[in-house]
């Protein structure tokens, strides 16, 4: 039973990833936008490199949020054409597999964007990311899981409404404030060498956020996806 659901999850994640890989249009646009936002923050806060380094945690995460939010609606919009989503819902099996599948595809998408975004930020703002790959990777992963979980969940609704472009960030960003605070503080602490040992506490908060909303979104998804 579980193995069947796992196959359904893998199939949906693979389908979404393949569609993305073959078009590439969206990925390239989002990466370009992310790099552009980093550059714009440089103009807004620079050119003193200290000021940029101080703000780096916040800049990186706002860039992730603003660029990443563009990717969630697309995950459902493709399905809405030609009634593909209705077909998907007609297939037997647990609908929550659709959520997990889309979550994995979106997670891969956003993590890939971040893998380009972070070196770009390091380059532009002179950040020592090479020295802190492991703790930084952990913070990024924890923050991204929470972000993508809620993004995938709210996009299931927003993508089917007229005002989807504005409604998704409107629904998503207020909910993400604790995640933003924790991720920014943890990233800043890690990049500063974590002398005060703050990063661990913030990462625990990220874990709590991720677990609470993974469970809640997983359970609530079936009420959101139908009709």
């Amino acid at each position: 039973m579980l193995a069947t659901e796992a196959r359904r999850v893998a199939a949906i994640a693979w389908k979404d990833a393949t569609a993305e890989r073959r078009s590439k249009a969206n990925f390239n646009a989002v990466v370009f936008l992310a790099a552009l936002i980093l550059l714009l923050f440089g103009f807004a806060l620079g050119p003193e490199v200290e000021a940029l380094q101080q703000a780096a945690g916040g800049v990186i995460w706002l860039t992730v949020l603003f660029a990443g939010v563009l990717s969630f609606n697309r995950s459902y919009e493709q399905e809405l054409e030609n009634g593909a989503l209705d077909m998907l819902l007609l297939y037997p099996g647990d609908r929550r597999s659709i959520f997990i599948g889309k979550l994995i595809a979106n997670l891969a998408f956003v993590l890939l964007v971040e893998m380009i975004l972070l070196p770009t930020a390091a380059l532009l703002y002179d950040l020592p990311i090479a020295r802190f790959v492991v703790p930084l990777g952990a913070v990024i992963a924890l923050g991204t899981i929470g972000f993508v979980t809620l993004g995938t969940f709210y996009a299931a609704m927003a993508s089917r409404l007229r005002a989807r472009e504005v409604l998704l960030p409107l629904l998503l960003f207020p909910m993400l404030i604790p995640l933003l605070v924790a991720a920014v503080e943890a990233t800043g602490a890690v990049l500063a060498g974590d002398a005060m040992g703050d990063a661990g506490a913030w990462m625990r908060l990220l874990v709590v956020f991720d677990v609470v909303f993974l469970v809640a979104a997983f359970l609530a998804f079936e009420y959101v996806i139908e009709g």
Partner: protein, 239 residues
Amino acid sequence: MSSTETAALPVRPRWHRPFGTVALLFFIAAQAFGYFATAPERDMGNLQKIMYVHVPAAWIAFIAFTVVFGASVLYLWKRHEKYDHAAASAAEVGTVLTGLTLALGSIWGRPTWGVWWTWDPRLTTTAILFLIYLSYLSLRAFTEDEERRARWSAAVGILGFLNVPIVYMSVRWWRTIHQVQSTPGTVDSDYALALRLNAFAFLFLFIYFVASRYHLARLERTLEARREEAALAGGPIHV
């Protein structure tokens, strides 16, 4: 359009109007008590009186969001539209009260702290709650299908409520690390009595407002049903 099956208009409960009148009178009395019967505070003077609206508004707003949560869970469980009406009503009143809390806190903060806004944990948490429930209401406004709106907003109402303790914790840690003082909350018994009276006054007004909004939601629903009926009957639509 002469439809024999036209749904009857829902009737306002009998207790409703008298209760509203009593709630309003009680509110006026509680405010008067707070204003005239308690001495002006030593440092803040009459500025302290704003506590009798600011604090009850904040408390009742929190009750309102708890009602949204409870009604949302009940809706997903029972799928009866009355729970959706209740959640929507409590969310609207709660959002107004949260906005009131913020505005009053700001008015109090300007002379006390010297600034309109400070990143105090409770203030910040309240502002985030305001945004979360505004987005809840905008989802409702943008979703046209009645049943879908009820399901979606129930899910969003539950997730939003789950976020409240996480928001509070994150903001508090954030402020602790950045070292900003908070205000002491030691309160004299006279003030406490006035505060309690006003809290109940707000609670009664809250119940009245939610009941009014609930009644309105039922009227709206009946109107929608009549519209649908008229459309199906094929005649011109008179509303």
